[in-house]
Amino acid sequence: MNPRDGDAETGPVQARGTVLTVRRVDAYYAMTVVAPGIAARFRPGQFLAVAVGGPQSSMLLRRAFSIHDVRPDHGGTVEFIFAASGPGTRWLAERRPRDVLDVTGPHGRPFPVPKEPAACLLVGGGYGSAPLFSLAGKLKDRNCPVDFLLGAASGDRVFGALTARRTGRTATITTEDGSLGSRGLVTDLLGQVIQQARTDVIYACGPMPMLRQVTVLARRWDLPVLAAVEEAMACGIGVCMTCVLPVVGSDGITRMVRACTDGPVFRGEQIRWDDIGTIPFDAFGAPGWEPRAVGGAGGPAAAGGSGAAGGPGGPGAAAAGGRRPHGR
């Protein structure tokens, strides 16, 4: 089903959600908002987008955060994690229970899950780990063993370390300053964890350099990586075209696809990591690109507006971490 066709059951909704709780979680904030329509449609990996600054706000762009969890209380609540790193997120951190927020979601494609039980390694950087816990629940429902590998600059920036230890078969933590777990990056221990856990599939969410490196390393073991990317976006619904990145489709053609609606989850090897921030010369519609170079199904139909980045085995799902290159 294509959520972009405005399907009432799966497409995003816009809601005026009442803030239930705002709490500090180490270096981050966790906010719970009553939004039954979003909670009912949510599948792990999807994100929401919040308007910040009130009705007369001078900050026009929605802030996107992956959904951490949904609960059935109050008809349905959604929780997301954020860092108060810019004026928009600081405003958000100052909200109090009973304040009302304009929230849209759930956006993007959810994480695909294995049909047969498979050993899943969930890799998270910073609060990019937020969407991994609801995913872990879904994987365990399908009898998939779940291992966690979480990392951050310091211990207070590893989101969900306790939950990972409690719910994962194993949980490995790394910090750059050594204040929690092993000193180093998650990618330093990735190979070791893969071998010990006999990993079949990797799910990853965090900063782009981490996702790139996880993808590169996983190739040695020939493991699929489902990476939820973080790209700066303005709308979250697929109209602004600011969050694009070069992705190779199942037809072998690179297209500039939207992280918000075509992702945010892509297969790691489909993303041209080294070409992010450029228009590759051979990308569909790049300068000098010739229409006749493309033929057959999935050709012209997929360039700008609604380009699906791949057929079977294409980008399945998404999670947008809230982090951005510049604090917002």
Partner: protein, 321 residues
């Protein structure tokens, strides 16, 4: 009391004057998740080009005070995919489709117009001669009255007689009235204004331009006063030419301001990113604003700000800001 919000776009009667602004609503499909696209006046599509275009590199966007800069570079699937997929979809949903076209030569605009005239169901063509984010940025057609006229003339000549052609103008000119006159003389049936203003932002951390394309188009409420001024000037010079007004509309009251300046219709752009259902909200708010002032017909207030106060004074306007 129900306000008569009907307006005309060429031969087509629009139920109301609230449109989407080109580039802010795709081809309507994504927006349909949040509103009924047949309820708004028309959907103005993202600018369609002859061939698919990948656009400019990222970062493509920077938030600024009450606005944003974008440097998308007209990423889009091209006219073939548009005619095959997007236009039929819009029509199947009962939407009125205003198709925005963009090219880099007069010949490309002419070819696009030819292709569109073979398609049924196009309510109007908006000729984007003012996108600041294309490679040959120094030669934006809308900055040169004769180049603008050449494009409009070519498009008008190849467009069905019953499909109106609107020229989308740039505010980044010394005298917008000169360009407006030139377009109308070349056959434009109406004018859309304003496109974005060319702007730039520098990141204080990296100390380098935020946008990969360095410069970008500024939009949002920050530019509304520029839109009001442009519409005002053109309305004063060309009182009979239909104007689609856009530039920073966030509320029904903002829409009313552009209408008072002379816009027959208004288009909502950047605000859609903030509020995907903004068009229907603004429509409702505009209806309320007019009703509160005892105005029965939208047509009665188009350009009203140009009338002497004694006449406007018949309807004491409340300051509701």
């Amino acid at each position: 009391m129900a306000v008569d919000l009907r307006t005309r776009l060429g031969d087509t009667e629009l139920p109301n004057p609230v449109l989407t602004a080109s580039g802010c609503a795709g081809s309507g499909r994504e927006l349909a998740q949040f509103l009924d696209v047949s309820r708004i006046g028309a959907v103005v599509t993202k600018s369609v080009q002859l061939v698919p275009r990948a656009g400019r590199p990222t970062p493509r966007m920077a938030e600024t005070a009450s606005g944003m800069l974008n440097s998308i570079g007209l990423q889009g699937p091209g006219i073939d995919a548009f005619l095959q997929r997007d236009l039929p979809w819009l029509l199947s949903r009962g939407a009125r489709a205003v198709v925005s076209i963009a090219g880099s030569t007069v010949g490309e605009y002419a070819e696009l117009a030819t292709r569109l005239s073979a398609a049924a169901g196009v309510t109007a063509v908006e000729v984007n001669i003012s996108c600041p984010n294309v490679a040959e940025r120094g030669q934006v057609f809308a900055c040169d009255p004769s180049a603008a006229a050449a494009v409009i003339d070519a498009v008008r000549a190849r467009t069905r007689y019953d499909v109106p052609v609107f020229a989308k103008l740039s505010p980044d000119v010394t005298d917008i009235v000169t360009v407006a006159r030139s377009c109308v003389a070349a056959g434009a049936d109406g004018l859309s204004m304003i496109n974005t203003l060319l702007g730039m932002a520098i990141d204080p951390v990296t100390m380098r331009p935020v946008l990969a394309g360095q410069t970008g188009g500024l939009s949002g409420p920050a530019i509304r006063p520029v839109a009001v001024r442009c519409i005002w000037q053109v309305r004063a010079a060309l009182p009979d030419v239909p104007i689609i007004g856009m530039g920073g509309i966030r509320t029904g009251q903002d829409a009313l301001e552009l209408i008072l300046a002379g816009a027959w219709m208004v288009a909502v752009g950047t605000t859609i990113f903030h509020d995907p259902s903004a068009c229907v909200r603004i429509l409702r708010e505009l209806d309320d604003e007019l009703a509160q002032r005892g105005i029965e017909r939208l047509a009665d207030v188009v350009g009203l700000a140009h009338e002497p106060q004694a006449m406007a004074g018949r309807r004491p306007a409340r300051n509701t800001r």
